[in-house]
């Protein structure tokens, strides 16, 4: 009997069934008080239970994928539907927030989906298409307005402009610090590759930087940059300040340096000595060796560094909200101050989404490159 059952499927079913028992949403009188749990409509719950139990059988991967999508769709639809029904005759200040049941069901079907995609082993271009499709699907669901009565979306509706602004600021922080780290880190990595004696000291300094907790780093920077802004002529005009975007950018940049520098070094060191000797022996100049041979061969490792840094910085940029640096962190800390969890979610959910998309997209990019430029065994 157990041989006929799918083990990961069993796990997902277990998570999902617990989710079905717990309340789908919290119905609250206003955005800060705790509310009462409301469960899903019974027919929908029955449908979800069927899908979850079916997932325990040895279904084909395609069927599993379809089932996971159907499950996800149903959970989202149930969330929006329940919120609409509750708000239709509730007071204007009332809120319907997703609760434990919703999150567990979302988790169960998301896991089922990932599992199905992994087992399908789709070709690279299919995975690109799937990523694009997933983004389009989320955008479509949000634009239909079906979820507009859910608390997070209510918070969004109240600060549309701010959301856009902080979103741009968040991307600016993440990509800006990445750009800075590449501008400084790549040459630094190349330099310590050429001068092995400098490797130890440079890497140790970067290692120490990496271990400073982010809050502590901000704490150190506020007085330092504040002092510079106050005492160095022109510094304040150039944007240097103890709080705001500048220290946030610097902190993210410092955290990015180690992965960029060490991966540059690893990538360059991975190029076989015979290849390098041939490049010199054939008469390539130092610059040509770097651009024709070393960098292209180190590229997959460099991209891996960019992936690490980008995902890390998208997450870390939340902290910038604490010192007025902007970004989605602004909502998170506002929400924490007001004990309004919906506002926290408004900051956290897009951050998670961005990090996921960036991570998957860069993974795919690395694989695409590895496909076209295989490295020697």
């Amino acid at each position: 009997m157990t041989a006929r059952l799918d083990r990961p499927g069993l796990l997902f079913a277990l998570i999902g069934l617990v989710g079905l028992v717990l309340p789908l949403v919290q119905f609250k009188a206003n955005r800060i008080v705790p509310g009462d749990g409301v469960s899903m409509a019974l027919p929908l719950a029955g449908l979800l239970a069927l899908i979850l139990l079916g997932g325990c059988l040895r279904w084909s991967h395609g069927l599993r994928l379809a089932a996971a999508l159907a499950g996800l769709g149903t959970v989202i639809a149930a969330l929006g539907g329940t919120a609409r029904a509750l708000m239709a005759d509730g007071p204007a200040l009332a809120r319907v927030a997703p609760a434990a049941g919703f999150w567990l069901l979302l988790l169960a079907f998301a896991l089922m989906l990932t599992d199905a995609v992994t087992r399908l082993r789709p070709a690279l271009h299919w995975r690109w298409l799937m990523l694009a499709g997933a983004i389009a699907l989320v955008a479509m669901v949000l634009s239909t307005g079906w979820l507009d009565q859910v608390s997070v979306m209510r918070e969004y509706a109240a600060r549309r402009d701010a959301f856009l602004r902080e979103g741009v600021a968040h991307l600016y922080l993440a990509f800006g610090s990445l750009g800075l780290a590449l501008m400084i880190g790549l040459p630094l990595g190349v330099a310590i590759h050429q001068a092995p004696s400098a490797r130890g000291p440079v890497l140790s300094v970067l290692n120490i930087l990496q271990t400073i907790p982010s809050l502590a780093l901000f704490g150190i920077m506020i007085p330092i940059f504040g002092w510079i802004a106050a005492n160095v002529p022109g510094a304040a005009q150039a944007g240097i300040a103890g709080i705001g975007v500048f220290p946030a950018l610097v902190a993210l940049f410092l955290y990015s340096l180690l992965p960029v520098v060490s991966n540059t070094l690893t990538g360059l060191s991975g190029v076989s000595p015979a290849t390098q000797e041939a490049a010199i022996g054939l008469g390539l100049t130092r610059f040509q060796r770097l651009t024709w041979v070393l960098v292209p061969l180190a590229l997959p490792v460099l991209l891996a560094a960019i992936r690490i840094v980008l995902v890390q910085n998208i997450g870390l940029a939340v902290i910038a909200g604490l010192i007025g640096g902007g970004g989605f962190g602004t909502f998170v800390f506002q929400g924490l101050n007001q004990t309004a969890m919906d506002l926290v979610l408004l900051g956290a959910l897009p951050t998670i989404g961005l990090a996921l998309v960036a991570g998957i997209a860069l993974d795919l990019l690395v694989q695409t490159l590895n496909h076209t430029t295989p490295r020697p065994a």
Binding site: A274, A278, L282, G283, L297, P376
Partner: protein, 305 residues
């Protein structure tokens, strides 16, 4: 022509190549042999200035190589190494085209040259041009490495144990091909090898290195008949001497009038092959294709100093 005079390389004050002088005439092959660590690679790499000499000179066609920018010098000199060093992210065609591209040949000339070289090395251009190096066998990679070294038609080719990693059958084929191509192109070749048999087969002259010093530089027959030092003698291996000697001469050169029975041996077969055939088939004389016979007595005479 390449003239090396009083070339010395010191590492930590110790000579690794010690006052070496030798001349390789245009179109000739010089084989550098010696035990491991005797300075062969260092000597070779001083020719294209991958290693800067501590003292002494290298002249190529009368021009002092120290007076040329190293990367420009290297583009004029073909260089092939053990483990081929092909660029793994570039196709076979792009690999071969490296130096012509550096020299800014036109795209048409480069394409024509790549196809010409692939054909010369018996690889079908249409099948191999766009392959990646990892899609080739070791022997094919090695040939591409040599083709790349020859791409810009250098007058001088340097090779450091180019066949070291090949199995004996493929190595013999690669050696024969190299000899033929070198004769065809008239390239001057300096070849480092561990293998005395390879040096004897390919070298017009053999340079024997011992602890950084050049102890003998002479044609293979002279090295075999009159080794300058006990070290040279040991390197040849006393048990191998008659066989190496016989391997220098093709059968037709000593063929005489006469009559012999049995299957004939090819004209180009070496006397060593002939001896082996005599012993194996129990014959005292062998017919040679195209006329004449080789006798066991003649072989014996040839195998002695």
């Amino acid at each position: 022509m390449i003239q090396i005079s009083h070339l010395t390389k010191l590492y930590d004050g110790k000579p690794v190549v010690d006052d070496v002088s030798l001349t390789v005439e245009r179109g000739q092959i010089a084989a550098l042999v010696g035990t491991s660590g005797s300075g062969k690679t260092t000597l070779l790499r001083m020719i294209n200035r991958l290693v800067t000499p501590s003292s002494g000179q290298v002249l190529i066609d009368g021009q002092d190589t120290a007076a040329i920018a190293p990367h420009l010098l290297r583009r004029r000199i073909g260089y092939a190494i053990q483990g081929h060093g092909l660029f793994p992210h570039r196709t076979v065609g792009q690999n071969i085209a490296t130096v012509p591209r550096l020299l800014r040949w036109s795209a048409d000339d480069i394409r024509a040259r790549v196809d010409e070289l692939l054909t010369l090395f018996q690889l079908d251009p249409d099948a191999f041009r766009d392959r990646m190096p990892h899609e080739l066998s070791g022997g094919q990679q090695q040939r591409i490495g040599v083709a790349r070294a020859l791409a810009a038609k250098p007058d001088l080719l340097l090779m450091d144990e180019p066949f070291g990693a090949l199995d004996p059958v493929i190595r013999a084929k690669a050696q024969a091909d190299l000899r033929q191509i070198q004769r065809q192109l008239g390239t001057t070749l300096v070849l480092v090898t561990h293998d005395m048999a390879e040096a004897i087969l390919l070298g017009d002259r053999i340079a024997v290195m011992d602890r950084g010093k050049l102890v003998q530089y002479a044609p293979p027959a002279d090295i075999l008949r009159a080794p300058a030092t006990p070290f040279v003698e040991a390197l040849i291996g006393p048990d191998m001497r008659p066989f190496h000697l016989l391997s220098l001469t093709p059968a037709f050169q000593i063929a005489t009038e006469g009559h012999a029975i049995g299957a004939p041996i090819p004209r180009e077969a070496t006397l060593r092959d002939a001896l082996a055939e005599c012993l194996w088939s129990g014959r005292d004389a062998l017919p040679v294709e195209g006329g004449g016979v080789v006798t066991l007595a003649a072989l014996r005479q040839r195998a002695a100093p």
